[in-house]
Structure formats: C-alpha cells, structure tokens
Amino acid sequence: MSSGEQTLDPVTFEVLKNAFVTIVDEMAEQILRTCHSFVIYSRDFSSALCDPQGNTIMQGSQDIAVHVGTLHLTAKAVVDAFGEEMRPGDVFAINDPYVGGTHFNDVRIVRPIFHDGELICLAESNGHWADMGGSVPGSFDVSAKDHFGEGVRIPPVRIYDEGVYRQDIVRMIVSNTRAPSDAEGDCLAQVEATGVAEREILRLCEKYGRETIVTAFDEAQDYVERLTRKRISELPDGSWETEDYIDFDPAEEEGLVPIKVKMTIDGDVVRYDLSESHPAVATFLNSGFGASFSGVIAGTKTFFPDVPLNSGFYRALDIDLGPEGSCVNAAWPTAVTGFCSGPYEKIMNASFELWSQVMPERAMAAAFNLEYLLVGGTDTRDRNDSIFMWYDWMAGGWGGRNGKDGSNATSPVFGVGLAVQPLEGQERLSPVVTSNHHILADTGGPGKWRGGCGVEKGGRLTEVRNTVMSYCCDRARSVTWGIEGGLPSFPHGVWLNRGTDEERSSAPSSPTWR
C-alpha cells in the first residue's frame, strides 16, 4: 500500500482518474451491445478495475450497488486461487457466494492485465445470468434448503488459457443451466468487456508509462479514502443502533427474525457491528459475508453521494459481521439466493435510519423491498417446447425525505440503475399477457413527508405447461417503517388465481407454487 501522499501531479491524476471511470463505463456499454440475457440487458450487471491484490480501483458511473461492494472480494478469490499462475491472455470465471460473491446467478469474469509480462491490474465484469440450474427456472428457489437446490457453484476457474478459449469448461458450466446458448453468449459478452478494459489500460501504459499508471491505481484509492475520512471526521462521534427483521423463519414457526445493526462514528472511521444478528434461516433469505458487506457499503454511500466508490471508501469503514453461521454471514452450504430481498436490503434500510439521525438534513426512511417474481416452465408457443423464464422485478416507493416526499414507482435499493422492463419485451420472450401495471395510490407510509407509492402489476399466463412460480420478497409482516413519526407503508405481497377470477391464494412471504 502506498503512503497516502499524492505523488502524481494534479493534472495527470485527474486525467487518469477520469480515464478509469470511462474505461469501466466502456465495459458496461460493451456488455449492452452483445449480451443475451434480458436480465443483463435491463442493466443487472456491473464492472470494475481491481489492483493486483484485488482491491477495487474504480467502479463505473451506472453500476449496480449490490455488486460493486463485492467485486473486490471475488477478484481476491481469483488471485488467491491462481496467484503466480495467472498469465497474459488468461480469463477466469467465478460466482461463489461463500467467498464474497452475491448469489449463483451473478457470474463474474475476471481478466488479469499484464504489461510486459507484469501483472498490473484486473478487469472484472459481473452479469446476472438468467438461469444457473438448480430446482426452479431462473434459480430462485425460495424454499431451497441449501446451495444444491439453488444452482451451479463456480469456484475460480480458468476459461481462457493464454488466449485459448476453454470451451469444454464453459460448456460444462452452461450445460447445467436452462439456457446454455444464452449463458455462453453472456459469458463471451463479459469476456469482451474485460478485453476492452485491457486494451485501454495498455494504451494508458504506453502513453504515461507503467509506473505512473500503477501509482494512479493506488492514489485513486488513497484519494477516495482521504475524502471519505475527511467527511466522517466532520460528523459528531457517537453510537446509534436499530434492527430490521426477516418476516419469519419456517424452522422456528413464529416470530420476526432480527438483523441488528449498530453504528459508531469514531473520529474518521465508521464502525459497524452486526454480530448480534439471528442465526441463518431455513429459507434462501440469507446472505454471505460479501453481500452483507455490500449492504453496509451501499447504505453508507447513499449519504455520501458525490464520493466515488472504490476500496479507499472501504478502508474508512470497519465492519464486524460476527461469527459464521448467522443470516448475515452464512456459511456453505446455506441457501443465499434471496439475500437481495433479505439481509442486503434490511441492512441498507437499517443504515438509512441510522444515518438519518447523524445527518437529519439528508434523512430518508426505508425504501421498498426487492420484489422478484419468477415464473418458468414449458413454452407451448414454441414447437420445440422450450423453457421460458418470465423474470420480473417490480418498481416501488422510496422512503420520505426531510423536506420532500419519497420517490414513487422507481428502482429498488438493489441498484438504482436497474431499468423497469418493457412489457412488450417480456411478452415476446414469455407466454404472458400483462393485465395491468399501475401506481397504487396512498401505499407509501403517511406522514408529513410521505413515502413513495408502490405499483401493482398483473399478468396472465397463456400457452404454458409445468409452470413454477417463485416470489422473492420479504415485507409482508416486517413492513417498511417510518422515521421521525412517519408511519409504515402498505405490505408487499402476491396472489395467484388458478383458472378463475374469484379464487385467490395469497402468500405471507416468499412462496413457491407449482
């Protein structure tokens, strides 16, 4: 690590810092140009440049919060696994949530970048593949007992060996998914994105010299650390704590499941203590340490919107997730795919409440829970009886702010870059007809500054067989709450009509129906 002093002249530093952001944004553009998965096309992907130790040098300007806070961990996992054996032209894949990844669908492609034979950085591209195998289409089995029901686990593996594509390895992975050709297409799109980063970094090395570039990698992190610490040191010292809940744990039958977040500002450091959180639950609403770390980062970062995010930001935070085995630090083989509606989102909303006390001028109450509805089965429109996956995430409301109502019908805290999917795209891909999609009036929490309203959406399946429906969401009982006297919002939920309009089966939380 460098001394923290800036040695580059201000012009070179600013030019290179901007160039790094541009490079990561170019990776994003490249993925959009050639990707296959509708999920990725709707912007469920992120990219980063990492240093040879795996630390994040720079994120892009439109990346998904949840991924970004974990990209350094999977980069480190690749470095740990291959270290000195990495060679120019190699590319690696990894999706392992137990070494810092998020869930199995988030596949990361990591390319080490060499200049004259020396490793100078890594380019990493994360994309949410539409399916990773497991027991249900789309790999969101809400009742999964463990990883084996969820999907293929990819430890760090080499998919390009000194420039030669190892199609056998990639085919082995994608053959365990329900959309092998699309999965391989997304893999290649991500590989090319890292190739874009390599060409650009090497161009910078030619122009400025390798030493300058490598120095800028360190100093970009030092810069963010300096900025973050300065901001923190201007805030009052103190401790704040709150808890949010998972709706219930089927293994325990009754009672909300607490996630406890304690935050301490101490000089120029923020400490988080989540060690009092509940043991892992018997559903997929658990989180590996990477995703919980990311929840803390994303929650904090919301209150420092103009600070760029890289590992320098992480250095100003001290995060204790407690021992392995809790719902915020789940160990293999605990099911974790629902982390995004579970601990990740709960931690983020809890930190909104804590930071609202520290910075009342920026105060904001809890935002809606990620609502992922995934229906899959046989598409009988197609003479080959192909598998369809209707993959839907809902728009919703954010918490009321100090001086302003919350935003209506917008993207989840999971990632504000996540686009609402076009209905006509969904209807083309899947045998579904959308019956309604509208903002639900007065569903946000009442108060002086109201929470934003959520939406209701309905669809009718047409030509299908063997359908499975998974609903990933967790705010039927532990509804989003208000702060400073504001009241809670409407609960989230889903219901299913089988054949008639009258019959309704509603669900308390995260059901699977077959």
């Binding site: 012009v11 541009t22 959009l32 050709s181 076009p422």
Partner: protein, 507 residues
C-alpha cells in the same frame, strides 16, 4: 381511433404511436409519441409563421426543414412528425463536418464542435455520418428515430475549473455560462474557466469579436491564482496549463468513446474543428489522439448552421421481421422491402421528389439469436439468399466486438429502408490564389504547454488568402473564433479558405 377523435374533437391535433413509431417497446414508443404531441403545436405554428414571413418578405423558393436523421423534409411533414426536429441542430454540425471533410478529400471525419458550455462530437465514416436509434432528450426520455449520433459532454469555454475537497483538480461539467461568464469577462465571475486559462496562456487575445469585447487578463489571473495555483502550489502558467490539459483530456476521452471504442482508428480520420472554442483546442486533441490532420472551416462559429444547407430530403422506413436465418424466406424479405419502397416513393412524391430522383438504401438489422442489440448490414440489390448477409454480419460483429460465435444461429430483427431525394446544395465560394502570408498584426508570448512561452505571430484570419501556407506557432484571430497553430503544426489554406493543419506525431 384517430378518425373518431378527429371527428369528436374538432381542431385538436391527434398524434398516434402507430403513425409516429410503429415499433416494439412501449416506453420508447410512448415517449417518442408524447414528444411528438408536445412539439406538434409549437412546430406547426412556428413553421407556418416562418413560411408566411418568408413569403411576405418576397422569398419564392421552397422551405424545407432539417431533421435529426440528417435530411430535410417539407413543412407538411414536419408538422405531422414534429419530433423528428428534436436533436436536428447538433446533427447539422455533423453534416457540416462531413461536407468540409469531403471538400478536403477526407471520407472519414470526426466533428469537434466546442462552444461556451458544451462540446458535440460526431463521426463520419466512409462519407456516412453514424446514426443511432438509442438516444434520449433531456431527463432521459428516449426518441427512437434513426438520428445522427452526437456525443455531448459538459466541456466548453465557460466550464469551471475547481478543486474538490480531497484536493484534486476538476474541470466542468458546471459552467459559468454567459452570465456571469468567465472571470475575464468582468461581469462578476470569480471562478476560473477554460477561457480564463487560454487568456492567461496567451492563446486567446484580450480582444474578441474584432474588438467588440475586451477580456480582462488581470481578473483571469486573479481567479486562477486564488482558486487554483495557490491551493495546488503551482505557478500561474502551470495552473492555466493544468486547466486546459484536464479539459482536453476529458474531450479526448469523449472522442475515444465514439471512435476507438466503436472500432474506428482515429489515425484514419481528420478532425474538423468548429464552434467558437473548437479551433483553439483542436490541435492539442489531434496530437493526443494521433489524428494526423486538423481542418478548420472559414467561419467556425456558424459552421453548424452551414450544415443545414448541405442536405438532401431523407426519410427512414422500417418494418420488424423476426426470425432465424433458417426460418426466414428470402422472398418474404424481398417482398417486405418492396412494400417499404412503395411507402418511400409515395412519401417522396408528397415531398415533391419524383421517383427517378429517389435513391433507396436497404439495411437489415441482424444479431446472434438471443442478443438484444443488432448490427445493420447493408443490402445491395435484390435479396435472393441470406448467406452473404450472414457472412457480412459475422465479419462486422468480429470487427466491432472482437469475437464471433461460430455455428451459432443468426437472427434477422428488422428491415430498414432509407430514401434520399437529392436537392440543390449551397455552393461555397472558391478563391483563386497562390496567396502569400500577410504581415502579422501583432506578436505575443504564447504558452503551448511544458516550457517557456514562444513569441508567436498573430494574424487576422480574413487577411490570410487561399493558397497561403505557414508553420506554427501562430494564432489566427477572427470574428467568431481563434485558431491556435502549435509548434509542429503545418498549415495550408485551400481554395474554400479552410485551414488544413497537419500535426507532428504525438510525442
């Protein structure tokens, strides 16, 4: 539905999405249609007023209006598809840059239009301006019409240079605008801008617009020294050079996005510099990007407007046709193109262009089955087989994205037809001459970066005749711009009074 509404709502303008944009994806279609509905009354009234004013002023010629796709249309068509005017202003700059490139023998140009608050960058390859369907107006509302692709960034003469809390030098996107404007305007601006830095470096003179405006060098120095050189521990000149270097790097990054990242090599292009500030920064950008030639038209400040005089009547037609190559019947493709061509000829007839004067260009959007974006593959003549198209697609995919998927099914997505009806173009005046250089009107020290100031001759551009040639360093001042020729730049002035500057290899 339109008919019912028109009958029930007498006199109300009706816009339907099936007329404006008969295409998949509700958000884009809706947004484009709404934009049309909003613009229709404004554009309609404006065009009618314009037409009547022109007539009463004695103008008897045709009136045509530029659209964002880089063609013109009649007032009647503009009235119906008003949204096609959105983004047309910046498209004009791209057209002008294409024209100037062609006059000078360059089929590949990058248009660099730098004004007071922003910079517009466009790209012309093999004589065609790049177009895109993926763009949006303010607040992110998409307009899904094929339009000339222009990348706009917040960098202009008035962009502010500042130091952030962690001590790092930044430039833009905030701008001093016209009011208060740069510090040197003396209208109350206290923060340094690119214009202030250029003034302190001697690149700009203290008089602009032929003396109609005086710049206050003292105020520029004060802003730079208080806001930048003192906090950063730099000398005044170094601080000014730093400001310009950061601005140039940001603009170079934007040019890379539109060129290198699309598989275009800047070394095969000429950089056409216009807008008030373009000719001041162009040479440095060319050097940074290894672009060998810089072109500066005679009137950089009005070059964009010139673009409007250089276009044909042009309309785009499309139809969705989805299927993998194995499933699609070439005869059906041909039939659909035939249908589009009938529409095109019909529309052009309505625009007053007879069918023998209409040029039709076909492309097919293709992609690997499962991809979301496609590549437009040009089609020559009648479609009898799709095999050649598949090969062209795979080559183009490889060129743009560095890989191909051997044996993977290829899909057709959409058929596009562009109809072009040639119109009479403005002809630019040609000047004879083996002109020799006039005497400079002044000499002043100019900093060109990294080193001492060079005593540099300053010419009035209007005095520099066709056929003249000279080497940098030099400054050319004119009413609407200032041209900076750095050491190592070699200039020849052509018969249209364009400056053609060749740049020594980047260091």
């Amino acid at each position: 539905m339109r008919e019912i509404l028109e009958e029930e709502l007498d006199g109300t303008l009706i816009t339907t999405s099936s007329d404006v944009l008969p295409e998949i994806f509700e958000h884009e279609r809706f947004s484009t249609t709404i934009a049309n509905a909003v613009l229709q009354p404004l554009v309609g009234r404006y065009v009618r007023d314009l037409e009547s004013e022109l007539r009463s002023g004695g103008y008897e010629g045709d009136l045509v209006i530029l659209h964002s796709g880089g063609g013109v249309m009649t007032p009647e068509t503009a009235d119906r598809w008003a949204v096609r005017l959105a983004g047309s202003g910046i498209a004009a700059g791209a057209i002008a840059s294409r024209h100037i490139g062609q006059l000078c023998g360059f089929e590949n140009t990058i248009g660099f239009d730098m004004g007071g608050t922003s910079t517009d960058i466009s790209l012309v390859y093999e004589g065609e301006a790049r177009t895109t369907n993926e763009w949006a107006v303010q607040y992110g509302y998409p307009i899904r019409f094929p339009s000339i692709e222009v990348l706009t960034i917040g960098a202009g003469g008035g962009s502010l240079a500042w130091i952030d809390e962690a001590g790092s030098l930044r430039n833009g996107p905030r701008s001093a605008g016209a009011d208060p404007g740069p510090a040197c305007y003396g209208q109350g601006g206290r923060e340094p801008t690119n214009t202030d830095a250029n003034l302190v470096l001697g690149r700009l003179g203290t008089e602009l617009i032929a003396g109609a405006m005086t710049l206050d060098r003292g105020r520029a120095e004060q802003a730079l020294s208080m806001r930048l050189s003192e906090p950063l521990g730099l000398g005044l000149t170094e601080a000014a050079e730093a400001v310009v270097a950061v601005a140039n790097a940001n603009m170079a990054d934007a040019i890379r996005l539109i060129s290198v990242r699309r598989g275009y090599d800047p070394r095969e292009f000429a950089l056409v510099c216009f807008g008030g500030a373009g000719p001041l920064h162009g040479a440095a950008l060319a050097r940074e990007l290894a672009i060998p030639t810089v072109l500066v038209p005679p009137n950089p400040g009005t070059t964009s407007a010139l673009g409007c005089l250089l276009v044909d009547i042009r309309h785009d037609f499309l139809t969705l046709l989805l299927g993998t190559l194995d499933d699609v019947d070439p005869e059906e493709v041909e039939r659909e193109f035939g249908r589009l061509e009938e529409q095109a000829v019909e529309r052009m007839r309505a625009e007053g262009v007879t069918s023998e004067k209409v040029e039709l260009q076909r492309t097919i959007d293709m992609r690997y089955a499962g991809q979301w974006r496609s590549i437009a593959v040009p089609v020559d003549g009648e479609v009898t087989s799709l095999d050649d198209l598949a090969r062209t697609f795979e080559d183009e995919h490889d060129r743009q994205h560095s890989y191909r998927r051997e044996g993977s099914p290829i899909e057709i997505y959409r058929l596009n037809l562009r109809a072009v009806g040639a119109t009479q173009k403005a002809e630019l005046a040609r000047h004879e001459g083996q002109g020799s250089m006039p005497e400079p009107i002044a000499r002043r020290p100019v900093h060109f970066g990294g080193g001492d100031a060079l005593e540099t001759p300053v010419y009035r551009r209007a005095d520099v005749p066709a056929g003249a040639s000279f080497d940098g360093p030099a400054v050319l001042e004119q009413l609407d711009s200032t041209v900076l020729v750095p050491p190592g730049g070699r200039v020849a002035v052509d018969e249209w009074l364009n400056i053609r500057m060749t740049i020594e290899e980047a260091r």
